[in-house]
Symmetry: C3
């Protein structure tokens, strides 16, 4: 049994969107100190780790840790209906999650809890060679550029900057973010690191990063990329497996 | 033979939209005192009664009552092409309705009149138990909320307020507009009244209500709902049959 | 080998759009004095003649005339990705055209050159009877009006003004731009001229005319229409064959 309240339902909408971009169903771990989720996407090549602290809520009553299985796709559609600034109260009933939106009118939704197993989801331990901090909106624009050319893109960080390449029949593309460019606030590379990834997954992963926010990308040659960003006080970490680079 | 002119074609567009949401073809009754229409939708579960007084027009010449059959779907598309503030002159030719839009340039459309029979369309006489006045935009938002959950919704008015419920596999929904809520300006209920309606029809019926305008909903247990609103000086009244409430 | 630079990539995007509306692939003639293209659409009923002077570029190095075959459809999609004010540098490599967009970040695209034959494309020599100068946005609105009614429209110029007609089952349409209307800045007609054209092609031809810009239409009875407009310093001329007027 738990009960918690947010001042702005939009915040929870953004969090759920960042999860649903990768997985349709999953298990939220509701704990006394906050809420977390770790899950692989259905094709097992990407992973999301989500966490929001108790302090993001205006009231937060969780006596003991609880795991609740949810259809995030369904939940995201309900949250998408929030308008203006609405309070959101979430509470558990027997086998349902109740969402109460209020701003004068009260709108109550009760969604069924699902009986899902949480696979133990350890995050990969990788010693990365390079770290890039880039503006979220800028990275999403680069992905859109690349989508004209190919379904895969190579991410590369060197001492000189951060580079993105895509090759296709209709064109080849190369985007150069020099270390000094305004769009990257940091490029660190102990040694050059490069790997190629499926564009669609990078798109899903970065979609919820605020355009004005910063996204941190960790790279190592032909290793999974690690992408991190924040939505308010919530933190999102994603891993995505590379494909063998044929470039 | 008639001839009438409106200062703003947009007004007539809104009127025709309010009709076409329910019926594709129908008969306008053009009378010396104004224009009316009464019609059932093709599935015979909803009815629209439309009326606009002579005074809405800047000039209005109708010598004797005339019935003109029109394809409102077609007429609505032509009216949707109006831009900015255009004058609209309508006149009858032999077997066509002429629409002249003017704002410097003149655009003339002639649409064929249809040979349609007007069934005598009496409005149902129901003694309603409850009346709700709600903001049009608010009611449309509630319908959108409900569409996530079910294809039917229950409307309920009691002394406490106006309530909307929908139940589905993905979620249950309940919207509570307390009597004191800003979104309802009036809730009167001699006794509680509740009935369930197909969402799509409520959507069609309320679509043309101005978001800032007021919509009046009359309810009686398991009886047809009566919905009224105004577009400028034109008045729209709709009736919609309930389905047996399985809630 | 050539190299040229534009201050605003958006200008080149607009030029390529004006070409791609009619043809998917074609040959640009890059000459010391500027760039030109003449091409028929694939159905051979419309022709586009494009020309942009050297002076439109901030730097322009072309030693000898060169013909480069391009997929404009592909090129247009890449150019559509330009954002804000970006510089665009274009240069030829062996068998590729390189496009470098820069505004801090550099985005490079290399598109393959195609081996296409330039048919000798002479422009038709027609002595026109009437000339109309009309606001580009206004003409596009008229085409949208007409699309409700028919797939063909008649253009007519007389001493009285410029008239557009379309006839269909759902309605007949006539748009009257009197000589004095604000939307036409000039109507000259030695004798009345009228011809009927496929709407889709007129739409393709006029699509890239700036809404605030002026479009010149030359007419002669049942002869091809000639349409001219400017995009910045670039000039576009189109010819479109009439169909036999059954009006």
């Amino acid at each position: 049994m738990f009960e918690m309240e947010l001042e702005d339902a939009k915040f929870w909408k953004d969090c759920v969107d960042a999860i649903v971009n990768l997985i349709d169903e999953g298990v939220l771990e509701v704990k006394p100190e906050g809420i977390t989720l770790k899950a692989m996407d259905s094709s097992q090549i990407a992973m999301v780790s989500f966490s929001v602290p108790k302090s993001s809520f205006v009231s937060y009553k969780v006596e003991s840790a609880e795991k609740i299985g949810l259809n995030f796709d369904n939940l995201g559609k309900i949250l998408a209906r929030t308008r203006g600034k609405e309070r959101l109260r979430m509470s558990s009933e027997e086998n349902r999650l109740e969402l109460d939106f209020s701003d004068g009118t009260t709108r109550k939704f009760k969604v069924p809890l699902l009986d899902l197993s949480v696979g133990v989801q350890k995050e990969p331990k990788i010693e990365y060679d390079a770290t890039v901090k880039i503006n979220g909106g800028q990275f999403k624009e680069i992905l859109r550029d690349a989508s004209l050319v190919s379904s895969h893109i190579a991410l590369e960080a060197t001492e000189a900057g951060f580079f993105v390449e895509a090759r296709g029949d209709s064109a080849d593309m190369r985007v150069e973010n020099a270390k000094s460019a305004q769009t990257v606030s940091e490029v660190q590379a102990r040694k050059p690191a490069r790997a190629t990834f499926p564009l669609q997954f990078l798109d899903d992963i970065s979609k919820s990063c605020p355009n004005e926010g910063s996204m941190t990308i960790h790279l190592k040659n032909n290793a999974p990329v690690k992408v991190e960003y924040a939505i308010g006080d919530a933190s999102l970490t994603y891993y995505l497996a590379p494909r063998i680079d044929v470039a």
